[in-house]
Amino acid sequence: MSLELEGVVIRAARSDRPLFAPLTLTVAPGEVATVMGPSGIGKSTLVDFIGGHLSAGFAPQGRVRLDGREVTGLPAEARRIGILFQDALLFPHLSVGDNLAFGLARRIRQAGPRRMAVEAALAEAGLEGFGDRDPATLSGGQLGRVALMRTLLAEPRALLLDEPFSKLDPDRRRQMRDFVFDHVRGRNIPVLMVSHDAEDAAAAGGQILRLSELAN
């Protein structure tokens, strides 16, 4: 499985000027590639485009292929591309366990195995017994780990990381980074991170691409 971007150009609907120079990139399974660039250049917009969340205010060109199959025209829910942001974005009305169950793939049908999968994910995040907790009572690091687990339980075919560590202080940042990279490498899926942080990019260990503004 690999994630391929081909000739991706995004412009705001009312503007002729693309946000960045055309982007072509292939991320291999198990690789964590990084796209870097100054803030405001459209890194998050790129993530939205790949994931299928781009709002009507943008006019994109180019293709996104997953494992050779084009997904550019598919709705977000059919792409199976996970996204992690710096905010965990857990659903506030659901318990921690139910957040995970919401993400858990439908492949597992029966209640018993589903509950066990959720328990296992909690254990993996070092949060045994947190299933009934209110997400609002968790610390930032705990929230981040639950968010990653929720995303992985959905069995994504690719993963996007949008500045996932930028809110954490240096110590936590390293811990969280290790946790995320360890878990995603084990899944053997392509991972694309956008970041403005060189240390994050180096830790990722994959190819590094710099978005640049279009020369006039």
Partner: protein, 570 residues
Amino acid sequence: MTHREGRALRLIVLFTVLAGFVLPIVAGLWETARAAFGILPAIGAGEWSLAPWRQLFGLPGFGTSVALTLWVGFGSTIISLLLASGLCALIHGRKWARARAGRVLAPFLAAPHAALAIGLAFLLSPSGWIARLLSPWATGWNLPPDIATVNDPMGFSLIIGLLIKEVPFLFLMMMTALTQIPAENHLRAGRALGYARGLVWIKIILPQIYPLIRLPVFVVLSFALSVVDMAIILGPSNPPTLAVAMTRWFYSADIGLLLPASAAALLQSVIVLLAIGVWLLAEGIATRIGRLWVRRGGRGMVSGPFLAVAGAVTGALMLAGALALASLLVWSFAWRWSFPGFLPESWSMQAWLRPGAGWGAAFAESFGIGLCATLISILIAIAWLEGEDRAGMRRVGWAEGLIYLPLLVPQVAFLYGLSVAMLGVGLGNGRATVIWGHVLFVFPYVMVALSDPWRALDRRMVGQAATLGAGPWRRLWAVKLPILLAPILVAAAIGFAVSVAQYLPTLFLGAGRIATLTTEAVTLSSGSDRRVVGVYAVLQAALPFASYLAAWWVPRMIYRDRAGLNGGRG
């Protein structure tokens, strides 16, 4: 993405709104206009003529009615705008005052016009609480004096009644508008330049929020020019305002009055249209004068006294409103209560113990109609907002106008024509028609109340659900609606309160056969037993309060273990 599905949903909603709301209003205006020019087949009138207008102009008191309408409409709107602005300026930036003002004013938003008016009549009348408080020691009255403090020929008591409803409405609209501009920073910047708080507010902040509350101001103006229920209870009686006069003509035993009444209804629309025009013109002039004034850079004007007066007057009005509502309760339990006793000499449950006498059925009718109208409105509002989401589009100006349309066109101007049109196409005037008539006025308020919280929902949260494989319907059911439960219930409570308060749609579309708490209270208010009227008015006021309470309590119970939804974003 799901653009195609979004389009289908949007088309369904647009069709519902056009066919269900816009078409009926247009048809109602059309039938009214036809009748105004002599064509009303139901009574055998079939020839174009100007006779209805000649007859209208010749009716006794017509000129006075028009003058009263303009006086009450403009007077109450201007005063309530001044008071609401003054109050905003007074408390803006003082957090505790803001929270407290919201809590104090909100109940008056919930109280139905009719109940409030009946209470005010109890309070202000020559035999009312204020007179009792001052008698006989200060006034020397041992019997109620023969002076018109309610139904006064100048409409002062009607204006007071309207102010108690409109000041809180405009105030809350301004508070909402304030969140859309960087008001705090402007206030700080202005004060740093040497302007006092109140002055910054008038010179810098008010001009920015006024455009955001212009539509609500027009709603207030249109309403004040054409109000019926409150004007029947508090307004001048002989001659009354135009809207009351034409309601009497429509329901007169003399069907010959139907044609001039229709002419008056058409005239009522013209009056509202012209009034909005005049208002816009005045806005332009005020803007120019304001600019000149701002350019002079004066910092010396003391705004304090004006603001203090605005605060005091608003406080007095709200006190009167609270006493009015309290007096309803006292009267409903009173047995013997002679002048000038401040409280009844003996109490009784008599009026309450006999629901069979009428209030039981009226209560059920109000409750049922309100529930249906609210459910339908909430459903359409959610469909509309979800359609916007799926299309990824912001609301365009004409759509916003569409939502406000039923609130801008005066009810009296099209409801009679509408009932004629309904009969014309074979739809009877019954309960279903009344419910739909209520939806016409409930939907705009529900829509206005729900739009902002709906848009404030973090889009990335919904995006997360999509990346986890949830399609648009699951995102709606499992993520958006549960998170938005509190604001949805608040919108529903507002809608329910609006429905319970409706007088004219029930009267006209129910052909006088559907008796709700509101229609009964208004009918009974003229001269019947105050104890019975008290029961109806208390119940009428209690329904909206109960619905607000439920909207506050239910999400707190369901989400008592969810700090992220409890209070914070609610």
